[in-house]
Symmetry: C2
Amino acid sequence: MTKSNVIKIGLCGFGTVGQGVWKHFARSRAELESRLGVRLEIGAIAVRDLARQRAVKVPARKLTTDPMAIATDPRIGIVCELIGGTTLARKITLAALRAGKIVVSANKALICDHGAEIFATAREHGGHFFFEASVAGGIPIVKALREGLVANRFPQIYGILNGTCNYILTQMEERDEPYENVLSEAKALGYAEADEALDVDGWDAAHKAAVLGWLAHGIWVRPDQMIVEGISRVTPTDFKNAATLGYGIKLLAIINRDFARNELTVRVHPTLLPEGNVIANVNGVYNAISVTGDVVGTTLYIGKGAGQDATSSAVISDITDAVALLRHGKGVHLTSQLALPSDGGVKLAPLERIRCCFYLRLTVQDQSGVLAKVTSVMAKHRVSIASVIQNPSGVKGTASLVLTTHESDEKSMRLTLRQLSRLTSVVDEPLLLRISEFTD
Amino acid sequence: MTKSNVIKIGLCGFGTVGQGVWKHFARSRAELESRLGVRLEIGAIAVRDLARQRAVKVPARKLTTDPMAIATDPRIGIVCELIGGTTLARKITLAALRAGKIVVSANKALICDHGAEIFATAREHGGHFFFEASVAGGIPIVKALREGLVANRFPQIYGILNGTCNYILTQMEERDEPYENVLSEAKALGYAEADEALDVDGWDAAHKAAVLGWLAHGIWVRPDQMIVEGISRVTPTDFKNAATLGYGIKLLAIINRDFARNELTVRVHPTLLPEGNVIANVNGVYNAISVTGDVVGTTLYIGKGAGQDATSSAVISDITDAVALLRHGKGVHLTSQLALPSDGGVKLAPLERIRCCFYLRLTVQDQSGVLAKVTSVMAKHRVSIASVIQNPSGVKGTASLVLTTHESDEKSMRLTLRQLSRLTSVVDEPLLLRISEFTD
C-alpha cells in the first residue's frame, strides 16, 4: 500500500470515549487495515487542554485545541465527534458534513435535537453520519434495525436504554436501599453524573428512544411528544409490592406502532414487567432491547450500554463502515446509509389514549372509610381495580395503599390521580407506575 | 426508474423457506425499492414439481424445474440457494459464483463442508456469498460478528444454536416427559425432521458453530475436530438433579479461544448452565448466543432460530445487502464482504486438554461398597468429586448415582468413564454431561 492509501481519522474530544477509541484502535488497527486493504491513521485529536496528563499517551504533534480545524481539514476523511453537548458538537458535525466528510458520533442528545438537519446536510453534501454508539453502547442495535431486520416493520420495540437507571434500580431492589442512598453511591463510583437529571429523569432514554423510533419508523418524535417519567420516586417498598404481584421494575423505553390505525407512541417510564420476562432479569449497567418485527418475530439484544470500552467498540465499527465507504466513493449509499423507512404517513397518537394497567401507591390516613373514598374516585373515572395491598407506611397514623388496575387509558388515570391527590385522606403525592404484560 | 434498473432474483428451491421469502418479499418490496433506488423482481423459481399445489401462488411463467438454468441465467443477479443438502446445492452455488453472481444461502451444512471452496470461488470470480440465515435464523448474528463487533477479538462465544433440541429439552424439563415421547410429539408437530439425527445428535449445531468459528477466528473447524454430543441420553431425572445443584440443561455450542496459547476449541454438548444465566432461561424453539469480545464485553442475542418467517427475514436482509453491492459494482468489497479475520496462526487445541467440571450419572447395583469402588476409580485418574446424589433408579435392585466433579480434563474423564463402565456394579452405560459456570 502506498502513502496515498492512508485514510485519516480525526477525534474531536479526547475524554473517556476518545481515549478508549485511541487505545482500542491502536490494538485492532493492523487487523482492520488487512481486512480493508488500506492504511488507517488517527491523524489529529482535538483536546481542551494540551498540557493535561492523560492515561493514554499520544504524540504531541497530533493534538490541537481547535476541533473546527479537524472538521474542515481536507486531509481528514472521518471525523469522530466525541465532545458531547449540542452546541459545539453541532457546529463541528455540520462543518465536517458540509466538507463531505463522514462523521461518527455517540451523541444521542445531538441526534435527537438536530437529527433532521444533520441528515439533510449529510445528504446534500455527499457526507455521511454514523451513530451506532448513540444507542445501547456496544450492542450493534442500529445495524440490526437498519440492515439485519430490513425486511420487517416494527409493531413494538422496548427496552432498557439507560444503564445508570438500571444500576440504581437493581441496587435498590437487591439491597433494599432507598433511591437517594444508591444515587449517592453511584455518583461516588462514577456510574452517575454529578448532574444526574438527564439519566434519572428519563431524558437520556428518551433521546435514545427518539433515535430508535426514527430508525424504525422514519419519523422524529421529540421528548415533549412522549411520556417521560424518571425513577426518583420509586422506593424499595415498590419493589416488594411488585414482587408480591409477580413483577420486577425497570425503566423502559417503549415504542409502539399500531399499523391498523397507523399511529405511533413513544414513552419512557418505570414499568412493572413480569418476572419471567428476560429483560426483567437484566441487571446492573446492562442495556436490553426487545425488537418485534412482523416477519422475524421478537429478537432480543443485551449488552453493556455505556462505558469507555463498549462505546469504543461501536465507534470503531462505524469507523470501519466509513472506511469501506471512503474506499469506494462516498457517493455510494450502502445499506447502512439507505434512506430510512418512509414514515408511511404515520401519526403520533394522543398520549392520553395509551392504554395499560396501572400500579398506584397512595399514602393515606390510617382510618376507616379511606379505601371506599379512593375506590369511588376510581369508579367515577371507570378505572377498574384488579388488586389492593394495604401495608403500614412506616409513618404513624398513615398507611400505604397499593392498587393495581385493569387496563385503562392515560386520560382516565390522570383525572383519577388529580382527584385522588385532592382528598384530605391522601397525605402524600400518589405514585403511578405502569404495568406491562410483555412476556418476551 | 427505467426498465433496465431492475435487479432480478432467482430462488432455487421453493419449500418452506422459499415460499416464505416470496411472501415476505412481496410485502416489503415497495419499501425496499424506495430505499435502494432500484426495482426488484423475483424473476425465476426452481421447483421440483411444476404441478404441485402450494400455499403461495406464483405465476407459472416464473417456474422451472432446472435450478442450474437460474444459476447461470445472465439476467439473474442474485441467486438464493434454498434447496438444502450439499450436492446439488454446491453445484448451483459454485455455478452462480463462477458467473459472478451473488449467492444468498441458509445452508449451514454446505458452508461447513465446502465453505473454503465457496469463498475462494466467490473471490476469484468477483461474486459474493451471503449466509446470514445459516446461523440462528432471524437473529442478525453474522452481521453483528462481522461488522458490528469488528473492533473485537473473541475469547468466548457460546449459545443455543438448535431450536429443535431446545424445544425438546424445554418440554422434557417442564412436563417431566422422557426424551422419546417429546421427540415423537415434536415430529408430529413438524418441529423435528423425520430423520432427527442431524438435530438431536448435535451435528446441526456443530455446522453452525463451524460458521461462527470461521467468522470469529478465520479458521474452518470440521465437526470431527470438535466434541459433538447430542441430547438423546438426557432424562427428566437429569433435569431434577441439575435443578437440585442450581443448574438448567441446554445443548450449547461453545467456541473458546485462548489468546495466550493461541489455541481454539469448539464443542457441542448438553451443558449444565447456572440457573441465573439468561441463556439458561431461553426456552422452546428460541436460539441464544453470548458473544464475549475483548473490547465490548459480553453481548447477547436471542430470537427464533428457524422457521419460515425468521429465516425469510435473514434471507431478505442478505438480498438487500446484495442489491446494494450490485448497484455499486460487484467488485466493491463492503464491510460485510471483507476478508475475514486472519487466523493469526491459531491452532486447534487437543480436545482431551479441555477442562471443565463434569456431571456423571451411573446406574449401579444397590449394594454397599459400590460408591467406594466408583470413587476409587475417579481418584486413580485424579478426578476430584464435588458432590454426590444417590437416588432410587426406578429399577429394582439398582440405584442412580450422580457425581459432580471439580475441574478436570477430558482425557482423565474419558479414562475414568471407560474404567467405570467396566465395573460389574455399574449396570448401564454412564451418562457424562459437562458443567459450565458461565454467568452471562
